[in-house]
């Protein structure tokens, strides 16, 4: 394994304990990603995909093992440092889009800039630009429930990109979409990966999609990597 990998995990383990019962969600996962890779993660539900994603996003902490991003030990950051990491290094998209329902598309896209301390005028300007890029500028004043699933996911992508992250984490981004929209969304991710050098880590149980776009795919089962394949 390359020691100066862009993203690197070593023996990553996450154990949830509730009372006396312990659930091993992730066990000794060691990965290494290069910058600009499109990395796929697949597996059945409960295999630990989302746990891995949350750990990489800095939303959760490992029980043991380590995560390094650009050599920086993410697993050792304190809460505030993790917030900064999420703010500037990673963008996330989700199966259920996770847009704020009371905000317009534009406000949703601009939301991360609020915490980055960007002035309101600048927030609006940047959000409008990025909505333009994903082709949703005409719908900027619509609220999530007025948008289709595909449109909502594109708003979510725009939001994930607004702070110019280096890594895009996509947790089942096509889970709530029909197959045509699904491939459009993954196509968008792939273009971002190719044209802008964005490192994409995508979870999906649709292996065909991953086989179509990803450079590498790993298979998880019961929290362990059971197969790692290089596709291209």
């Amino acid at each position: 394994m390359n020691s100066d990998s862009f993203v690197k995990t070593e023996d990553l383990t996450r154990i949830y304990s509730s009372g006396t019962i312990q659930v091993v969600a992730l066990k000794d996962v060691s990965l290494s990603l290069d910058q600009g890779q499109f990395f796929g993660v697949t597996g059945a539900s409960g295999s630990g995909k989302s746990t891995l994603m949350n750990l990489l996003a800095g939303l959760d902490r490992p029980s043991s093992g380590s995560i390094r991003v650009q050599g920086k030990l993410i697993s050792e950051l304190d809460k505030d440092e993790l917030a900064l990491y999420r703010r500037h290094q990673v963008g996330m998209i989700f199966q259920s889009f996770n847009l704020v329902s009371s905000y317009s598309a534009l406000e949703n896209v601009a939301f991360p800039l609020l915490f980055a301390g960007v002035a309101k005028k600048e927030r609006t300007k940047r959000a409008a630009q990025i909505l333009e890029k994903v082709g949703l500028y005409p719908r900027k004043d619509h609220r999530p429930f007025e948008l289709s699933g595909g449109e909502q996911q594109r708003v979510a992508i725009a939001r994930a990109l607004i702070n110019q992250p280096k890594i895009l984490l996509a947790d089942e981004p096509t889970g709530n979409l029909d197959s045509k929209t699904s491939s459009q969304i993954v196509q968008t991710l792939s273009e971002l990966n190719k044209n802008q050098g964005l490192t994409v880590i995508m979870i999906s149980h649709e292996e065909t999609l991953l086989d179509q776009f990803a450079d590498d795919v790993i298979h998880l089962r019961d929290g362990k990597v059971i197969q790692a394949e290089r596709i291209r």
């Binding site: 949350n54 996003a57 939303l59 959760d60 809460k79 505030d80 917030a83 900064l84 999420r86 703010r87 500037h88 996330m92 989700f94 259920s96 996770n98 847009l99 704020v100 009371s102 939301f111 991360p112 609020l114 915490f115 980055a116 301390g117 002035a119 309101k120 939001r159 702070n163």
Partner: protein, 451 residues
């Protein structure tokens, strides 16, 4: 995050739940309104009393009374059975005493309290009242607040000052109209000597009174305001005349039934002498001199501390009532904030996912409870002010009927105004502590899965 963004966020979030926000703010508004009107009432009463005392220089007075033999202020039954049994050491408050006192350093003047009952007749109306004899110089010293006319001077003959409350009882509404008009005072005299026995016998048999009437005509030169409070004041009657006029009148100098029986036995003397000092610094030396001579004294200034303590207790009581309302309002805020956080559970997860720190989340909700407090404080202040104005009008309406001049019973000081808003914000922030901590502790992983 920028401060302006916190403020904008908090107001826009509150605005999204208009009804709930308005109801919560109403709770705070009522609490702060209650507190503000209570406080301003306490302050208003305090201001009125201390201002009046200062204005009338009441703190410059010492009252001197004869000491009763067993040195008790409350008469025992023994005393009541044997009234007027003057002890060997009892000094007499007479004119010689007054001349004497006037020589003491710091004494501006001294005058006895002389009051006698009389029938006052004006415009076909007849009322019973106590007439007080008050020297012209005291009358001119500003001790009395005049509504109309002027104080009498030593040069005036047959001059009289009447209170507007008595005038009102005599159905005179405008005090200005009575200045220069004639008024009749009828005194009662009684003769308890042996020569008057038939009269007394008929009185005891219920067939008549052992009194005879003497009428005197006076000219009204001034109308005085009745003070809004009572107490041991140098001025406490409705009708005032000069000592010169008083001497020419035949009258009973009694204010209680005991005087009727003791007058023939007791050594002549005034029941009380009021001493006016040029400054409060002479109070203690003059009191000491008087007590050395065997008199009892009373100075209002000695009771200032008691009065202040009284005010503190009154304010504390009013504060306690206001605090109950505030506590209920604070519970309302906690409820609203907890509800808001539960509703926005997922939104908090999103905030954290896009880079909000725990501190950012905390501040967002803190600003929201602060905004509730601020709006509630401003509205509560307005409510308190309006209610106070309203109550003030009502009190004055009823007090005016009794001849009490218009007063502001509520006082709004700058510290009350700013303090109310600051207090409201602080209480709201305190109420926001628990919900805010709860919001900051939300696990984004769980919240993002939440539907």
């Amino acid at each position: 995050m920028r401060i302006s963004d916190y403020i904008e966020q908090s107001f826009s979030n509150l605005w999204k739940k208009k009804l709930r926000t308005v109801l919560t703010i109403f709770g705070v508004m009522i609490g702060i309104g209650a507190l503000v009107s209570m406080f301003s009432f306490g302050q208003g009463i305090q201001d009125n009393i201390t201002n009046t005392f200062n204005e009338l220089q009441l703190f410059n007075y010492v009252s001197v009374y004869p000491r009763s033999e067993n040195n008790q202020t409350i008469p025992s039954s023994e005393q009541l059975n044997a009234p007027g049994q003057a002890g060997p050491h009892t000094q007499i408050l007479d004119d010689a005493f007054i001349r004497d006192v006037t020589e003491i350093e710091g004494v501006e003047s001294a005058f006895p309290e002389v009051r006698f009952p009389a029938m006052i007749r004006f415009n076909e109306e007849e009322k019973f009242s106590l007439v007080q004899v008050l020297p012209a110089d005291i009358c001119q010293s500003g001790l009395m607040k005049l509504r109309a006319g002027r104080p009498y001077s030593p040069a005036d003959s047959n001059a009289l000052i009447i209170s507007d409350s008595l005038l009102r009882r005599m159905k005179v509404k405008e005090p200005e109209t009575v200045i220069g008009q004639q008024i009749e005072i009828s005194t009662l005299t009684v003769d308890l000597s042996l020569s008057n026995i038939p009269n007394i016998v008929s009185f005891l048999m219920g067939k008549g009174l052992p009194f005879s009437r003497q009428s005197y005509l006076f000219t009204i030169v001034g109308v005085t305001e009745k003070m809004g409070f009572a107490g041991p004041m140098p001025v406490r009657s409705d009708v005032f005349i000069t000592p010169a006029e008083s001497e020419n009148m035949k009258k009973l100098s009694l204010t209680s039934i005991w005087d009727l029986f003791q007058s023939s036995q007791q050594a002549k003397g005034y029941s009380m002498v009021n001493i006016k000092l040029s400054s409060t610094k002479y109070i203690e030396p003059v009191k000491a001199k008087m007590e050395d001579r065997g008199f009892r004294t009373f100075a209002l200034i000695d009771h200032l501390e008691e009065i202040k303590t009284g005010f503190i207790f009154m304010n504390m009581f009013l504060f306690a009532i206001g605090m109950i309302a505030i506590t209920v309002a604070a519970l309302g805020i906690i409820n609203t904030m907890v509800m808001s956080i539960l509703e926005r559970y997922k939104e908090i997860g999103i905030m954290k996912a896009v880079g909000a720190s725990d501190g950012d989340v905390k501040k967002i909700f803190f600003f929201e409870s602060g905004a509730i407090g601020f709006l509630g404080g401003v509205l509560g202040l307005t409510l308190g002010w309006l209610v106070s104005m309203f109550i003030n009008q009502i009190i004055n309406y009823f007090m005016a009927k009794q001849g009490v001049p218009y007063m502001d019973y509520f006082s709004f000081r700058w510290w009350l105004v700013s303090g109310a808003i600051v207090f409201s914000v602080l209480i709201s922030l305190a109420a926001g502590v628990y919900p805010t901590m709860r919001a900051a502790r939300i696990d984004p992983v769980v919240a993002l899965r939440h539907d």
